[in-house]
Amino acid sequence: MFRYVLRRLVATLPVLVVVSVIPFVIMRVAPGNVAQMLLSGDAGGGASAQDAQELNRQLGLDRPYPVQYVTFLGGLLRLDPGRSLWTKEPILHELWQRLPVTLELTLLAVIISWTIAVPTGVLSAMYQDTWVDYAFRIFTVAGLAVPAFWAGTLLVLLLVKQFHWMPPLGYVSPFVNLRLNLQQFIGPAVIIGFATAAILSRITRSAVLEVLREDYVRTARAKGLSGLVVVGRHVLKNALAPVVTLSAVQMGNLLGGAVVSETIFTLPGVGRFLVDAILHRDYPVVQTIVILFAAVVVMLNLLTDVLYSWFDPRTRQT
């Protein structure tokens, strides 16, 4: 088992190296630079080329690309990705401040998605091809079809139009004021959770349908167990494995949803930090966040595989 985990860990390293190169190259190929943005502002620009050149030099952007890349990677290995070119603040410090927001948002979104997906998926399977099934399928297709930015904007608009209320601006820690915190997070978490639930619900339905046809389920029914006990004790346990796997894979989508929702609901999380950094051409911040997101997704996938191999040793051979 240990060797298997070690092998998988080593295999993730090339992935992270490739992931570190991609945003580095894309950001440098993309037109625009942070010096020009810092000097121009919204009044229409106007910084002289000499000033922009000098600021670029101060920021270290006049060095050859390989030097910039190696410097960044070296810093990252020492867990110090440097300072933001836009704010000059240490990137780790900025991330540390914003990480709790994104973590809470994704955690709430996962809880909401499971709360929606598992019951709807199971009920759809149990009542296959009835109006219950159709209703939940329409519900889940809607979740797949509606983009998060649109749903978020509509939700805020609805609250404002009907109740002259919207989630309080800013961020309050749940340890300071839980009620206020939930008011801030419930909207975006529902938007992301709903979108994620759509896929999970469909997977749950398929998995439950497959298990329902198994012999042991038929045996359980033949023993006289009630439908609820059969599903709860025998079906769910065996059907949820692919749902757990997909939840891990869905982490990328959750983080993507956070990027959009944090902007609409003005939550100061990592997603909004990333959007701002891209717009400002804040290279090291974009690189760090992309690598962080990639690492999270890779690690969750690894964790899923490890759990799988623990349950089913045959997978270790593949």
Partner: protein
């Protein structure tokens, strides 16, 4: 709904005499001044919003309203525009000032008893240190507006309460430009110790820094030692950073933000319908021009006939309809409702401003043929991303095609657009520029002179350079206006920029806000010193 619109009294008088009376009347005064029978109340926090966080706190090195709006309440300048009549200058840190007869020496006498927020008393050396870095910044400091103060030769401090600006030549715009919101006074000890104010907010303003939560808000609180007795009225000002325009207007409707600005009439209408008498909407012309830039460094745009043909192709009235919901005003180099603009009747004689578009477009085709393009020409048009700019680009493309110029639109996000413009790597550019004040030196100095940063078309018109220096040194308003008009004719005749018109903004604020008056620019600094809330 208490609806109003804004203009300035002086502007009204000028506008009335120049045929702009009807338009200016539509922007009549509507100020949230203290109503009769009410006396100012102390307390409460004014909430406002802006679209982004400031990159840093050093206003001398900044050119974004995202820095100025939240920080302005913490600072003072030497002199400031009257918040109720921005064309009138009133004392700030300088209680009075003298100008020598030849207009080359300005002496400012500082107030006594003024303290910085960190306790140090204000002295002339603080003013000198601040102004030295604006006029001639040391290495590593980027003073983005230094060209406007090119006439300043040196700054002297004869004593601790006196500052003297010695000019290389007379400059009658100096006081107006000194009063910009950006030109705040920093404490010399912090500048000496740290080299900049990127992380420090220490001024002498009515409010002092309280808290900054990146991505959320910046909060300032009442300065109990403020040098103006009895001010400010508010306990504090909190600026939220809201990147999404829809979220921002919703926050205003929901009452989380008491003061907000929108660029679209539809959003102002939404707020008006939702809030009724609990909100105020004020429509205000802005010192912000929408332009079509033509790069003279790229063939064939160096040929004035080609530039004129492009300008003549554009129907500016229609452009304003599309770009500003019909609320903007056609204009030339200067703010159309301001003190310095050419009257519309005069503008009509310049290329691109005729009301007979069919005849003007026929003339444009002739000019193109004379320039060697009888069958028209193709060009790339770089456009900044954004609803206003993108819809404008489609309209410009359509209008240009009517004289045979086939423009291929390339939409670029702001960073890419600014980079291309700065490198002069474009043929046609669709953009905009804003200026802090309606003043010839500020507008020309930043946008039209040979070495101006925003002279994207890379145009150098000797007549404009000569007239710029001439007008700047004329004290008499009428005599100066004549030269400014002559300069505007020269610049627009050469099509240094094809100016399409000027924007309008809708200021939305709670009916509880008192003593607040929206201005034609937000860059004059809104310190909120005089603002109070009828209910906290």
């Amino acid at each position: 709904m208490a609806e109003g619109a804004l203009s300035r009294r002086r502007l009204m008088a000028i506008a009335a005499g120049t045929g702009l009376g009807a338009w200016a009347a539509a922007y009549r005064l509507a100020v949230a001044q203290t109503p009769a029978g009410e006396s100012p109340k102390y307390g409460g926090v004014l909430t406002q919003d802006i679209f982004a966080d400031p990159p840093h706190f050093d206003l001398h090195q900044s050119e974004t309203i995202a820095a100025l709006l939240p920080l302005a309440p913490c600072y003072s300048r030497l002199i400031q525009p009257d918040p109720f009549d921005v064309d009138k200058l009133i004392p700030d840190l300088a209680e009075r000032w003298d100008i020598s007869k030849d207009g080359k020496v300005y002496t400012f006498h500082l107030r006594r008893g003024v303290k910085f927020h960190h306790g140090k008393p204000l002295a002339a050396e603080d003013v000198k240190a601040s102004w030295d870095r604006i006029v001639s910044p040391p290495k590593g400091v980027f003073s983005v507006r230094k060209l406007i103060f090119d006439a300043i030769g040196g700054i002297e401090t004869p004593d601790a309460q006196t500052v003297r600006f010695v000019l290389k030549r007379p400059n009658w715009s100096l006081l107006t430009n000194i009063a910009h919101g950006w030109n705040v006074i920093f404490p010399k000890d912090i500048l000496d110790a740290k080299g900049d104010m990127k992380r420090d907010v220490v001024g002498t303003g009515p409010f002092k820094f309280k808290q900054y939560v990146r991505g959320v808000s910046l909060e300032v609180e009442r300065n109990p030692d403020y040098h103006v007795k009895g001010r400010p009225y508010l306990d504090g000002v909190k600026t939220f950073f809201i990147p999404d325009a829809n979220t921002a207007v919703n926050a205003y409707i929901a009452g989380q933000v008491l003061l907000h600005e929108v660029n679209l009439e539809s959003q102002a209408d939404q707020a008006r319908q939702q809030l009724g008498s609990r909100g105020v909407v004020v429509k205000t012309p802005q010192m912000s021009a929408l332009t079509m830039e033509l790069n003279s460094g790229r063939k064939p745009w160096g040929d004035p006939r080609v530039r004129q043909a492009a300008s003549m192709a554009i129907d500016r009235k229609e452009a304003m309809q599309v770009m500003t919901d019909g609320a903007g005003e056609v204009g030339g180099m200067m703010l159309p409702t301001g003190r310095w603009a050419l009257p519309l009747s005069e503008l009509g004689k310049l290329p691109g401003y005729s009301t007979d578009k069919a005849a003007e477009r026929a003339q444009a085709r002739k000019l193109l043929a004379e320039a060697g393009f009888p069958n028209g020409l193709k060009a790339a048009m770089a456009v900044r991303r954004g609803q206003q700019f993108e819809s404008a680009a489609i309209l410009l493309k359509d209008h240009l095609s009517q004289v045979g110029i086939e423009a291929n639109i390339e939409v670029l996000e702001t960073a890419a657009y600014l980079d291309r413009m700065a490198r002069r790597d474009f043929e046609i550019g669709g953009g905009s520029f804003s200026t802090a004040v309606d003043d010839p030196d500020a507008i020309l100095g930043q946008n039209y002179l040979c070495n101006a940063g925003r002279n994207y078309g890379n145009m150098c018109v000797p007549e404009v350079e000569k007239l710029f220096l001439e007008q700047s040194q004329i004290r008499d308003y009428k005599a100066r206006l004549q030269v400014v008009n002559q300069m505007e004719r020269a610049a627009l005749g050469a099509v240094m920029k094809a100016v399409l018109g000027f924007r309008v903004t809708w200021f939305l604020y709670s009916s509880a806000v008192r003593n607040y008056r929206p201005q034609y620019t937000r860059y004059l600094a809104e310190t909120r010193e005089q603002v109070w809330l009828a209910r906290s």
